[in-house]
């Protein structure tokens, strides 16, 4: 896989899975726009690591749930890089609680960032990719969007929404050389899963045939594959990276 000279935007690229994706694509040759919202110092660390590999990188703050922010993000990427070849919609949050106790804002925030954010960013790059007649879009869904999870009805709905969005946009853009796929991670070691209690982690293990959590790199490798020409004939798919949880 060779991404030399390609430009990739990774939303939520300063931490966790997004960081692993940004570093992986850079390692394979791509220049990276690292989007973040809250931690500039973390984003700058990723940028520095990418520059040390000899690639170009910039950190751009943008709230993906805000259409204007996203337009500014894309404008800045266009000023800095000649093309936009890859978009990874990774930015996501959780606001876990049982439905009975879920506040409207818990629902709205998760849908706004995870689902609307994916819409905003995808829409913003589509015209350019259509003109280029090429592009790779990978949306980070979740296994929870496929199978549901107690305490995550908002998150699961946003991720299931991403899957439906992925398939629809894949169909719309298929004739333009743009591949749109989703990756559905299972339980991956990140800040997001760090907060789970030992008890929850224990019970998770009983559902993971491989009996181990995944790593951000496990996800990043699959994203890189989907962004490569090796996956040229794959679009509208959801690849589960979950140690066998869902089959």
């Amino acid at each position: 896989m060779d991404f030399a000279g390609k430009t990739a935007i990774v939303t939520g690229g300063s931490r966790g899975i997004g960081k692993a994706i940004a570093l992986k694509l850079a390692q394979l040759g791509a220049n990276i726009a690292v989007n973040y919202t809250s931690k500039p110092e973390e984003a700058e660390k990723v940028v520095t690591a990418i520059k040390e590999m000899g690639r170009d990188a910039i950190a751009i703050k943008a709230d993906v749930s805000n259409g204007e922010d996203v337009q500014q993000l894309i404008d800045e990427v266009e000023r800095h890089f000649p093309t936009i070849d890859i978009l990874v919609n990774n930015a996501g949050i959780t606001r876990d609680t049982l439905l009975m106790r879920m506040k409207e804002e818990d629902w709205d925030q998760v849908i706004a960032i995870n689902l609307k954010g994916t819409y905003n960013c995808t829409k913003a790059v589509t015209r350019k990719m259509m003109k280029q007649k090429s592009g790779k879009i990978v949306n980070i869904a979740s296994i929870v969007g496929v199978m549901g999870n107690i305490g995550q009805s908002n998150y699961a709905a946003s991720k299931a929404g991403i899957i439906g969005f992925t398939k629809s946009v894949a169909k719309e853009l298929a004739t333009r050389g743009i591949n749109v796929n989703a990756v559905a991670p299972g339980f991956i070691q990140t800040d997001m899963t760090e907060v789970l209690s030992e008890e929850v982690k224990e019970s998770l293990m009983t559902h993971i045939p491989m009996k181990q959590l995944g790593t951000p790199d496990d996800v990043a490798n699959v994203v890189a594959f989907l962004c490569s020409e090796n996956a040229r004939y794959i679009t509208g798919q959801v690849l589960n990276v979950d140690g066998g949880m869902v089959m």
Binding site: R127, L173, T175
Partner: protein, 76 residues
């Protein structure tokens, strides 16, 4: 003239070599084999060029390039 500019933009979007055969009666989809995405791209390019908004429900009524040019003429 609006019509000429419209033809120029359509040719650019569709990558046409020659615009000689294009008349106001030419249909984007039937004659120039544009698909629905091409049509959307053309409409968006025309909106940018002329600073008009062409709502979907208006765009759906266009039968040929002459209709597009007339709409822009009347609304710009």
């Amino acid at each position: 003239m609006v019509f000429d500019k419209v033809v120029e933009i359509i040719a650019e979007q569709l990558g046409l070599d020659s615009t000689e055969d294009i008349t106001p009666q030419t249909s984007l989809m039937k004659d120039l084999e544009a698909d629905s995405l091409d049509a959307v791209e053309i409409i968006m390019a025309l909106e940018d060029e002329f600073g008009v908004e062409i709502p979907d429900e208006e765009a759906e009524k266009f039968k040929n390039i002459g209709d597009i040019a007339s709409y822009i003429e009347e609304n710009k």
